[in-house]
């Protein structure tokens, strides 16, 4: 609750402050053969924000990151990072950014220390400063003891942490993380998340791509959902989820009249059609609203067998916009565009933004 409030306040402050770290207008990238990987993306990421680019494999996330990090020239539109155009001022962009690319592209024959020192040289840090900075970063990501081992012997989590450390060697204004936790175990994933949050608190703007709903939900101040090269929705995780509907409580009765139960539930929110024998009610307060419902049902003599709270997820937002699920995106949602959480009566369905 407090986390959401804090993020909402931060996001509002950032957006009203209008200090832009990343801006893209009608950004496009078409590959040979006419394949349009990114198709007119508009982005504005405020300084100090954590922005998550969420989408399935092949949606255009990595292509967008590669354009924003000057690794790939756009074929249309324009983009600026840290105030510098990604084509005209590519050198300045590279000086301002840190990049940790997909699958931690590391040389398995180098040691962790060698990699970070090489990165320091690439960013023109004086030799002594580079050495000190390498030691500091290796300590920060918990790799001091493994620093002189070859990277080929590192676990996936260690590689990701090293990759992150190497992206920080020149203290970048904007940090790009391309699927930073893909394939990691939950512990390693959490360690990366904590580090990202810490960096952000220290002032670094973070732009991350992910195909994990939880990652975007947990980390991001704002989320952009991309599908087939287009930004289909954008906003804070809470606002996006609110667009597709309210939390729903499904109640299966053990004993008592469904009519009595429905009468009680009507005090708490809009009733929805029953599902598999369970009564369904919208519960705007989410989990916080369950206890009063249970107490009221108890007072009315209704015995409950089970309660299931279904809160809208970012996947529901994705389904709402594209008709597909985010994870396992190859399978269309049942019926082509089944809304997981139907909009409230009288509330218009959210329209695609692009």
């Amino acid at each position: 609750m407090w986390r959401h409030l804090r993020r909402a306040l931060k996001s509002s402050a950032l957006q009203s402050g209008r200090v832009t770290a990343i801006e893209a207008r009608a950004l496009e990238r078409e590959f040979e053969g006419g394949i349009r990987a990114v198709d007119g993306v508009d982005l504005r990421v405020a300084k100090g924000e954590i922005y998550a680019f969420l989408g399935p494999n092949g949606a255009g996330k990595t292509t967008t990151v590669r354009m924003l990090t000057t690794l790939l020239r756009p074929t249309g539109g324009e983009a600026a990072v840290a105030g510098h155009d990604v084509v005209a001022d590519a050198g300045e962009v590279r000086r301002s950014i840190g990049v940790a690319l997909q699958e931690a592209a590391l040389d398995p024959l180098m040691t962790g220390r060698e990699l970070i020192r090489l990165q320091a040289t690439l960013h023109a840090l004086p030799a002594a400063e580079g050495r000190a900075r390498s030691d500091e970063l290796l300590r920060r990501v918990g790799l001091s003891e493994a620093a002189d081992r070859r990277i080929g012997t590192y676990s996936g989590g260690m590689r990701r942490r090293l990759d992150l450390a190497s992206a920080l060697v020149h203290e970048p204004e904007v940090l790009f993380l391309d699927e930073p936790t893909t394939g990691l175990d939950p512990v390693s994933r959490k360690a990366i998340w904590e580090e990202v949050v810490k960096l952000n608190r220290e002032g670094t703007t973070v732009f991350l791509t992910t195909q994990y709903l939880e990652e975007a939900d947990q980390l991001a101040d704002r989320v952009g959902i991309i599908s087939a090269g287009r930004l289909v929705a954008e906003g804070t995780p809470a606002a996006l989820k609110a667009e597709v509907g309210l939390p729903r409580l499904e109640i299966t009765l053990a004993e008592g009249s469904p009519t009595d139960c429905a009468h009680v539930l009507s005090r708490f929110g809009e009733q929805l059609p029953a599902k598999d024998g369970a009564l369904v009610v919208e519960l705007p307060q989410g989990a916080a609203g369950i206890a009063p419902v249970v107490r009221a049902l108890d007072e009315a003599g209704v015995l409950v067998e089970s309660l299931d709270l279904h809160e809208p997820s970012l996947d529901d937002v994705f389904v709402e916009q594209t008709g597909r699920h985010l994870e396992g995106a190859e399978q269309p949602a049942a019926g082509g565009a089944e809304p997981v959480a139907p909009p409230a009566a009288g509330e218009p369905e959210a329209a695609p933004r692009t």
């Binding site: 990238r29 590959f31 040979e32 590669r66 990090t69 000057t70 690794l71 790939l72 020239r73 840290a82 050198g91 300045e92 590279r94 000086r95 301002s96 950014i97 990049v99 690319l101 997909q102 699958e103 592209a105 590391l106 040389d107 024959l109 180098m110 060698e114 020192r117 090489l118 990165q119 040289t121 690439l122 960013h123 023109a124 070859r150 190497s166 920080l168 020149h170 203290e171 970048p172 204004e173 904007v174 960096l199 220290e202 002032g203 670094t204």
Partner: protein, 273 residues
């Protein structure tokens, strides 16, 4: 940690930064070769074995009419072994660059605020260092097994210089193919071509004793002039003219290969790999 704002360095600072990057990437390239035996084998082990076999088995070739005046077949063969090792070092450098592209390590380098040409030059600096190493290795082997370097220490310096510069020039071909294809297996496919080019030169046999059309091809093959530049300090006949021919041939091959590398790099940046 709080982000520091980036500021553009002056031209001198940029040049120094790029030179440091070339040095650092060159060191990485050499270390990588020593840490990966499959890269080391073609550079030192194969040419050494071939040198031993040819010297032991074809030593009487020196008795052929019109064979150049040499103290022994080993003296003649040293230059060929060095240039063979250099060509293979260039090929291995290309393979290593292609692997960097395949695994995405090159993106890490390309995302840094240094000239992308410096990144390629860093790889070639490593190849040049390996070339110098192979030159020293074969000089030591040669001296240990009875070869003499007629033009003494200046001759040794000339040999190391020519071999190192050749490594950059031929390494450029491997780099160009790596950048154009992005595939280590494609660069590896150059391996047989290296031997065709070697056998169509005077590396292992005097050009004047080859049969046509190999003889004519060898006489115009730039490698022949480069091999002469490396061989003549051993046999004591390096002249300003042959020095210039060797250097000119290296410059020609280098200009073509580095030009192709630059074009391949530009294409890669434009098309995004």
């Amino acid at each position: 940690m709080s982000p520091r704002s980036a500021s553009e360095p002056g031209p001198a600072a940029r040049l120094l930064a790029n030179l440091r990057v070339i040095g650092a990437l060159g060191r990485r390239s050499v270390a990588q070769t020593f840490r990966r035996p499959q890269l080391m084998a073609p550079i030192l082990i194969f040419p050494t074995i071939l040198l031993a076999i040819q010297t032991a088995g074809a030593g009487r070739a020196v008795d052929l009419p019109q064979f150049p005046e040499v103290n022994g077949f080993l003296d003649f063969m040293l230059a060929g072994a060095m240039i063979q090792a250099t060509l293979l070092a260039g090929n291995s450098g290309g393979i290593a660059l292609a692997v960097d592209l395949e695994i995405g390590f090159a993106d890490r380098l390309f995302a840094a605020p240094v000239s992308r040409y410096s990144i390629i030059l860093g790889r070639l600096a490593g190849t040049a260092a390996l070339g110098a190493l192979t030159a020293v290795w074969f000089i030591v082997i040669g001296l240990a097994f009875g070869a003499t370097i007629e033009q003494g220490v200046p001759g040794v310096v000339m040999m190391i210089l020519f071999v190192s510069l050749s490594a950059i020039a031929f390494g450029g071909i491997g780099a160009a193919v790596a950048l154009r294809s992005g595939s280590a297996s494609v660069v590896q496919g150059l391996f047989p071509i290296v031997f065709v080019i070697l056998f169509l030169s005077n590396a292992f046999f005097p050009a004047n004793l080859l049969l046509e059309p190999a003889k004519t091809i060898a006489e115009y093959n730039p490698l022949t002039f480069i091999v002469d530049g490396v061989r003549e300090p051993v046999v004591g006949s390096l002249t300003p003219a042959s020095f210039a021919e060797a250097l000119g041939s290296i410059a020609l091959v280098g200009a073509i290969s580095l030009g192709l590398s630059a074009l391949a790099l530009r294409r890669r940046v434009r098309l995004g790999g």
